[in-house]
Symmetry: C2
Subunit: 328 residues, 2 copies
Amino acid sequence: MSIRIGIYGYGNLGRGVESAIRQNDDMELVAVFTRRAPETLKIRTEGVKVCHVDDALKMIDDIDVMILCGGSATDLPVQTPELSKYFNVVDSFDTHARIPEHFANVDAEAKKSGKVALISVGWDPGMFSLNRLYASAILPDGKDYTFWGKGVSQGHSDAIRRVEGVLDGKQYTIPVDEALEAVRSGSCPELTTRQKHIRECFVVAEEGADLARIEQEIKSMPNYFADYDTTVHFISAEELKRDHSGIPHGGFVIRSGKTGFDSENTHVIEYSLRLDSNPEFTSSVIVAYARAAYRLNNEGQYGCKTVFDVPPAYLSIKSAEELRKEML
Amino acid sequence: MSIRIGIYGYGNLGRGVESAIRQNDDMELVAVFTRRAPETLKIRTEGVKVCHVDDALKMIDDIDVMILCGGSATDLPVQTPELSKYFNVVDSFDTHARIPEHFANVDAEAKKSGKVALISVGWDPGMFSLNRLYASAILPDGKDYTFWGKGVSQGHSDAIRRVEGVLDGKQYTIPVDEALEAVRSGSCPELTTRQKHIRECFVVAEEGADLARIEQEIKSMPNYFADYDTTVHFISAEELKRDHSGIPHGGFVIRSGKTGFDSENTHVIEYSLRLDSNPEFTSSVIVAYARAAYRLNNEGQYGCKTVFDVPPAYLSIKSAEELRKEML
C-alpha cells in the first residue's frame, strides 16, 4: 500500500513536492490544499483532488503524511502546530533562530495527538545540519564552516526590488574561492562575513532612474549588503528573464579537525550541493523524510522530531537488508 | 558518569581509538586487551590496564562498550559475535560482500544477550555508505559514484611486497581527475574500472633485481593491478621511509540526479574526505558510534545495527536541545 501524501500550500515548494512524489513508487499524492479558490488552481497530476485548506480535516483518514509547503515567516509557525493535531506532518521551517520555539510549539501538539511532526527539513536546515553534526561528532577538535551559493537569495532579491527606481532584480550569493581554499587547507582560518561571501546583483531600473543612487543604496543597505563586497549590474528586463530566471543554489559544509596524541594529523570533511532548482531539491529531501515520518509513526513513535532524530534507513524505499547488501 | 570503553586489539586502529577517546570528555578508557603478553605492551594512557584477551570476561561490569580493533579477514568474524554475548560492541568490519553474513551472526548473539552491536563502522563502510544512502533517497532518479584516494591501499601494498625481488613497497590509489569532473558535471557517465582510478607504486627492489620483470609482474597482477593504469617507481629504502611512511587516504561519494516534471533540473551532491591518517579517522568515527551504542542500549535497544540504523543525534556529546539550537 502506498504512503498517501497531502500537499498543504501550492507554490514553488508544493509543485516541487508534487513532482518528487512521482519519483517515489511507494508514494501517492492524494490531495493538494490551497487558500485560493480550489477551482482556480491547476495542478500537474491527474485525478488528484484540489481542496480548500478549510476542508483538510475532512481528509484525516485519507492522508498518511501532510507536507506543509508554506513560508517560515507567518505560515508554518501557525500551520505546523495546528495540523500536527490531526496529521503526521513535515515542514521546512528555516528561521534558524526560532527553531527551538517552533519545536516546542509543535512538540506539544504532536505529543497530544500521537502524530510525528518532522520540522526544518530541507538542505539548510536539513542536510547541511546533518553534515555539521556528523563531522563535529567525528572530529571534536576542529571547526566547521558553512558557505552558501552560488545561488539566488530570495530575501536579498526582494530587498533589491524595494529600492526606489528598481523594477526587478535578482541577487546571487557567491562563496569566496580564497576562503573556501583556506578552509580546505585545514588551517581553521578566522573569516569575517565579508571574507566568506560576495553578493552579485542584477538590476532592472526604471527608465531615467539615477543608477548611481540605486547602486549606492543597494550597497549600503544594512544587514543585507553593507557587510559584503557587492557588485551591481544594470541589465534589461529581457536579459533578466533570459539569463536569471532559474532558482539555482547550493553550498558547502566543511569541517577540518586534528587527531593523534600530539594533534599531528589533519582531516578535512566536505559536503557540497550544486542545485539547479532550490525548491525542487528541498522538496526531494522533504519527500524522503515524509517516508520516515510515516514509518516512525507506524512504529508507535510520536512528537516533534528533526533530521537529527531520524535513523537514515527510514528515508530509503529499500529494506534494511537491501541497504546493508547494496549500500553499506 | 563517563562511558567506559575497552579496546580489543592494539594495532594502528586500537591506538587511534585510544587517542580519539582523549578528545571526548564523556568517555574513559578502562582497559586494552591484547593477545600478546600484556606486560610487553606499552600503551599511551596512564593508569589504564593492559589485559590479556582471555581475561576480557572478568571486566564485564567495568566496560560499557568494547571497541573491536581486529582485522576483517579472520579476527572480527569470530570476535564480534563472541563478544556480543557479553558487551555492547563496535567493529569496523569492512569486507563489503560478507556484511550480510556477519550481520546475521552478530545479530543472533546480540539479540540473545540484549546488547547493541554496531558493525562496519568507519568511513567505507561507514560515512561513505551513509552518504550513498542519503543521496539516493533524496534523488531517486540518479546515479552515485564512489572514488577512493588519494591514499594508501594496504592490500595493494602487501601484494607488491609479495613480488619476488621486492623488499618493500607502497601503493597509492588515485581517482582520475577527468572521471571526477565528468561525474560532477551531472552527465552520469559509464566509467570502467580503468577510467575511475589509477594506481601508483613505490617499490624498493633488492640489489641486482630485474626491475623490468618486477614492473611487469606488478602491472599484470590480476585483480590488483591488471585492470588499472599502473605506474611503478623504483626508489631507495630511505626515500620510501622519508616520503611514504604516512597512511593518508580519502575519497569522494558523488551522486547526481534529476528532478522536475520533465527531469529538467540536475543536482549534484558531493561528500569528500581528505585524511592524513586513515586509521585515526576510522577510529574517530568508531568512538562517536561507541557513544551511540551506549545510549541505544541504555534505552533498551539491542541486536546488531549499522550506521543506517543510528539516529545522528546519538553520535554527539551535545544534548538534543543544544543540537537543535546550535547546529540545525
